[in-house]
């Protein structure tokens, strides 16, 4: 994985579900296996890229299994695909297995919960640009807000494999402990040692938690944790890079911190999108045009979803 963009081939593929498990009240992980051309296309992924899932043909859960607050949403027929970034990609025996993290929030994700091993899902991807690693970086901070965990978990794996000498540390925040989209939290001793999240500690990466209500980790914002850590970090700023994915307000704060210290920073953005491959023009992200005061709209699906923090207008 280097800074220059490798043009990978995207396409429309059918994948087979190999697991779909609930990991929290509203959180699930879905495993999808690609064969043939799909395995090749997704095998050449970059962390931070995403795929568009066609969920129209998937059944809704039984009436009683629909949470009361989603009963109205469940009545809506869906039309568009839904974008998900990859939390993990594994290549094995000419197959590529892609895991995505999802949260049940509406009529499409509700349908996803009924997928079982062996089901087929039609997928367009891999889409978007993905994260890059500029030359000479020695320390990487991964800043996660809620559902932003997926692409940064994928990045963590690739960084530890491709850059074994790089120091990587993850910070994960949510409103409450229950809203942290991880399979489980490690015990108090591990937490004390700074390995709070198994999704990161499995790669030997230190991880720290923050919750708005103090129900897990630091009582406050995840950006405070990251800033505090940076304050103690001995790596020269130009050798540090921050990667972040999460709510817009969090990204804005991360961008400010990075700007203040002149640290490179890449943000994975989210927008409502219809197509995912640049034709509908829905997913505009306002960006600075060079050094001028002018702004332009870039497309989250094609120019992003990863943007240099310096170019995004919040």
């Amino acid at each position: 994985m280097s800074e220059e963009q490798t043009a990978n081939v995207k396409g429309v593929f059918d994948a087979v579900v190999f697991f779909n498990k609930q990991i929290g009240k509203r959180f699930y992980r879905l495993g999808l296996e690609f064969s043939g051309a799909g395995a090749e296309a997704f095998g050449n992924f970059r962390p931070g890229q995403f795929a568009q899932l066609d969920l129209r043909g998937i059944a809704l859960p039984d009436g009683e299994s629909v949470p009361a607050e989603l009963a109205d949403a469940a009545q809506r027929k869906i039309l568009l695909r839904r974008p998900f970034s990859f939390a993990d990609v594994t290549k094995k025996d000419n197959k590529t297995r892609v895991e995505i993290l999802y949260c049940v929030v509406g009529p499409a994700s509700l349908r996803m919960t009924t997928l079982v091993a062996g089901n087929s899902v039609n997928i367009i991807g891999p889409l978007g640009n993905g994260f890059g690693v500029p030359e000479g970086k020695e320390t990487a901070l991964l800043v996660v807000g809620g559902m932003g965990a997926g692409p940064l978990e994928c990045l963590a794996k690739v960084l530890t494999a491709d850059y074994p000498t790089m120091e990587v540390v993850a910070f994960a925040g949510a409103r409450t402990a229950k809203e942290l989209p991880f399979e489980r939290q490690l015990d108090a001793i591990s937490q004390q040692l700074g390995f709070a999240v198994p999704e990161f500690s499995k790669y030997g990466i230190e991880s720290l938690l923050a919750t708005d209500d103090g129900s897990a980790g630091h009582h406050g914002m995840v950006t405070e944790l990251a800033a505090e850590w940076l304050g103690k970090c001995s790596t020269a700023n130009e050798k540090i890079i921050i990667y972040a994915c999460g709510p817009e307000q969090m990204l804005s704060r991360v961008a400010e911190i990075a700007k203040g210290k002149n640290i490179d920073c890449q943000l994975s953005m989210e927008r409502r999108m219809a197509c995912g491959f640049g034709v509908c023009q829905s997913c505009a992200v306002e960006c600075r045009a060079g050094d001028s005061n002018e702004t332009i709209y870039k497309l989250c699906c094609k120019d992003g979803p990863v943007f240099d923090a310096k170019e995004v207008v919040f």
């Binding site: 409502r272 491959f277 306002e286």
Partner: protein, 310 residues
């Protein structure tokens, strides 16, 4: 057997290999769908709207999904005429499919200026006049709801576009679409395309605000198809048939059956829009499906199907 079916169509002065287009604003400027579809297999291709100056477009959110449809309020975001000529025409030049450039603007002069600059370009087959975009403050639909304005802008475009074909895209949001269609044909339209989207709104009941930054957007997708079929049939029977003007029918088409409904209702060709977002290869599938339908019904020439509604 399939070889016996002729699905090529006469569309004004053009001969199209088949009756399936991709609709403006759903397939980019030229080859953006090229990763998924061989554009040259289409009957025709329509670019997204081009304006004289570049346009940034509206704030986000620009789309929201609805039951069997979606609202968009992109706001005619485009790279502008100069960049279109410089960057996109060379790509279009390599295509063998007839390409229509969709033209928009805030004033009649702006529309005409775009057409004038492109009128002698061999790369393009014609223009689609967008007087039905519901998502801009000036221009767009404001030119498409009064017959006198439709006459005025169509005449100006007709003068500007020289020998090129002129297709006028109609809005469904009018009292009588036939009045507008007649005005366009009287002023020189060589073809009519219909329908554009319906102005619509989705409200967020938590914030009590519209979801779209533009407040309203254009409703497209399967939700609008029965209305579109009705309006195509109305324009066909009341205006287009007698005047010999072909109709490009569109609105919620996602499969061959949908497309065939439009053709029976009076469309000489059809355009696939919103479905390109979901199934980028669906236009090609529709071409095959139309062939199969004709074979099954012993229709040797698709023109026998156009307007065959009983």
């Amino acid at each position: 057997m399939e070889e016996m079916v002729d699905i090529s169509v006469e569309f004004g002065r053009l001969r199209l290999a088949n009756p399936v287009f991709t609709a403006s604003g759903t397939c980019g400027y030229a080859d953006e769908l090229g990763d998924f579809v061989d554009i040259n297999k289409l009957g025709g291709f329509i670019t997204k709207s081009i304006t004289q100056q570049p346009r940034k477009g509206n704030d986000t959110p620009r789309i929201v999904e609805t039951d069997s449809g979606m609202l968009n309020a992109i706001g005619l975001a485009n790279i502008g005429l100069d960049k279109f000529i410089e960057e996109k025409l060379p790509v279009i030049e390599k295509l063998s499919v007839p390409v229509f450039v969709n033209v928009a603007g805030e004033t009649i002069e702006e529309y005409a200026a775009v057409a004038e600059r492109l009128a002698d370009r061999q790369e393009i087959a014609g223009f689609e006049l967008n007087i039905s975009c519901p998502n801009v403050a000036k221009g767009g639909i404001s030119f498409g709801t009064e017959a006198w304005q439709v006459r005025e802008i169509t005449s100006a475009m007709k003068r500007a576009c020289g020998e090129k074909m002129l297709m006028v895209k109609l809005s469904p949001a009018v009292t009588d679409i036939s009045v507008i269609a007649r005005a366009a044909v009287d002023a020189g339209a060589d073809a009519l395309s219909l329908i554009n989207t319906f102005t619509a709104m989705v409200v967020d009941i938590e914030s009590r605000k519209p979801i779209l930054a533009n407040r309203t957007g254009g409703l497209s997708g399967p939700a609008i198809k029965p209305i579109a079929v009705y309006l195509v049939n109305k324009v066909y029977t009341e205006v287009a048939k007698d005047r010999g003007v072909p109709i490009l029918g569109m609105g919620g088409i996602r499969n061959a059956s949908d497309a065939i409904e439009f053709i029976i209702a009076g469309a000489s060709a059809v355009a696939v829009g919103t479905s390109n977002f979901v199934e980028p290869g669906c236009a090609i599938k529709i071409i095959e499906g139309i062939k199969q339908y004709c074979t099954g019904k012993n229709i040797t020439n698709i023109k026998d199907l156009v307007g065959s509604l009983e």
